[in-house]
């Protein structure tokens, strides 16, 4: 990464942290957008608390979907689970045609309002990219490498932990990154079902017709997503570098 890119990201991070911890400092920038003396800065709760609870639910859901998706990915690529492989491939394709909001909306009548439906939607929807990439990563390990590992006397468990998973790791991490980004967006919509998160700011703005709220909510979510996307990209590249091969692509 070039020096300019590092400085740009550091500045964006600093700006984000400054804004959510002391939003009043920025009131002057949002004041022109308000009408009738409406507040320029979100005043129905602390932006910091909303950001943290937003991040918490995304982190928890991603953790849960990673555990299940990687376990399922391992299962269907073992001899015992092979019968499920074709079906699981199609299911991943079909599942991705479901918009996240549909999952969220259908969960509400089943479990009520609040964090629960949001968690369920994030968890279910987050499974797909991770599972897909785990499959791609594990089935992408060349048969020759596996043969060599077998020839060295490794048993199935050792091959999985010492050969297959490390080789598949960068691809799995790419799936986790995609899943986190989708979850950040879905968690924002989660505010329509009363989950604590940054969507609240945007929705409050839409309800009270306060463009300043809408814009600051949008900017905080957008900055958060872009920075997390970049940060996870760095982790991915580090994992790929450990394998001694640069990750192709520009992302």
């Amino acid at each position: 990464m070039s020096v300019r890119a590092v400085i740009l990201r550091a500045a964006a991070l600093l700006l984000l942290v400054a804004f959510v911890t002391a939003p009043q400092l920025f009131a002057f920038a949002f004041a022109p957008l308000t009408a009738n003396n409406a507040p320029a800065i979100y005043n129905q709760g602390s932006l910091l608390a909303l950001t943290l609870s937003h991040l918490r639910i995304v982190a928890l859901a991603t953790l849960a979907s990673t555990v299940l998706a990687v376990a399922l990915g391992i299962f269907v690529t073992r001899p015992k689970g092979r019968e499920f492989l074709p079906l699981s491939r199609s299911l991943v394709n079909i599942g991705q045609t479901f918009p996240p909001i549909a999952v969220l909306a259908i969960a509400v009548p089943l479990v009520g309002f609040g964090e629960k439906p949001t968690f369920i939607a994030l968890f279910l929807y987050g499974l797909l990219p991770i599972f897909e990439n785990t499959l791609a990563g594990l089935t992408g390990v060349s048969p020759r490498t596996l043969e060599a590992a077998k020839g060295m006397g490794m048993n199935a468990r050792q091959r999985l932990w010492q050969v297959e998973l490390p080789l598949a790791l960068p691809v799995i991490l790419a799936g986790i990154r995609l899943s986190v980004i989708i979850s950040l967006g879905t968690a924002t919509i989660g505010s329509t079902v009363a989950a604590k998160g940054l969507g609240e700011v945007i929705i409050a703005g839409l309800q009270s017709n306060n463009v300043a709220f809408i814009l600051q909510g949008g900017l905080v979510v957008a900055l958060l997503a872009v920075l997390i996307h970049d940060g996870l990209g760095l982790v991915e590249r580090a994992a790929a570098r450990r394998l001694g091969r640069p990750l192709d692509g520009t992302a």
Partner: protein, 388 residues
Amino acid sequence: MPTLRPTLHLDRLGSVIAGLIALALFASPFVTYRANRIVSGEGRLLVDALPPAGALVTIAVVLGVALCAALARKPLVRLAAASLGLCVIFPAVGFSAGFVTPAGNTFARVSPAIGFWLLALAFALLATDALTRLRLGPWGRLAALSIAAGALALLLLSGAWNDLSLMKEYANRAESFWREARQHLWLALGSMGAACLVGLPLGLASHRVPALRNAILQGLGIVQTIPSIALFGILIAPLGYLAANVPLAAALGIRGIGAAPAFIALFLYSLLPVVANTMAGLSQVPADVIEAARGMGLSPRQRLAQIELPLAFPVILAGIRIVLVQNLGLATIAALIGGGGFGTFVFQGIGQTAIDLVLLGAIPTVALSFAAAIILDAIIDLTRRGAA
């Protein structure tokens, strides 16, 4: 490696599906009965949800499918069993609504319950697995899709589902349903069309001018990362300013809140797949093919139109497929900022905790994305075959 199989082979996946069917049949309610639209309901098992003869036939068919799933190995047999199961439970849930609702009661609502959905899921899994193993070609997949769509249309037009809560919600809103449907399609397809008009030349330019490539891809990548509702929010401020200060913009119907920011956001999201795939498609055209075309005396414009674009077309089409499926889903969120579309029903339903209203918005959205994915995948396969 061929192994010796016992004559009675228990299929692993089939056994899981059979277990799911048993769970759905005996442990979960088939329909939910509610005294009116918003109170919480009580579940009815399949045995109590249909007249005795009907219940008996339905249970027999469902158990037959379960047996088939566990024992039959031929994909065609499994597909036939799954289709039969679906053809029985879908009308059955409609008749059940008529049976469970007391005569003359117009307030009572009957909805499919978890048991029905589990059965539908189990049969759909069985059918999907069989279809995957059959490895249908593009035409076969299109035919399967049209048969499914035809069966669904027949079910809805025959009125078999009219007593279900979902269809009652539809009947109360038939007019606005089709209005929102048009709006949804206009948002999704219109922004896709605009993205193609802008994205194809942009992709071509970044293929030809390497200096542009990174800047364009990175810029669009950042846009792609921004969650939809945040991007809507960011667009509302400048559009609102434009509407307030530029009379022409206001005359064109551009306002801060409404369809305009949704359309522009969907357009921006669509650009990356179109541009990236146009570039990828063009760069995979073999250099010697272009060289040969040059040797034949084709001008750069002719090379582009007759050689490069046709060869890149399947890859470009794959980008358009991504955009279409993504847009059909994302257009649901437009309702949040007053942009209309099927999301209107989803968000109304969330507000009223009326699951059937949510489904009235969600099911058409999912069905559209699903059909779009199958149709475009088939077209991509056909063009690949043509290009090869």
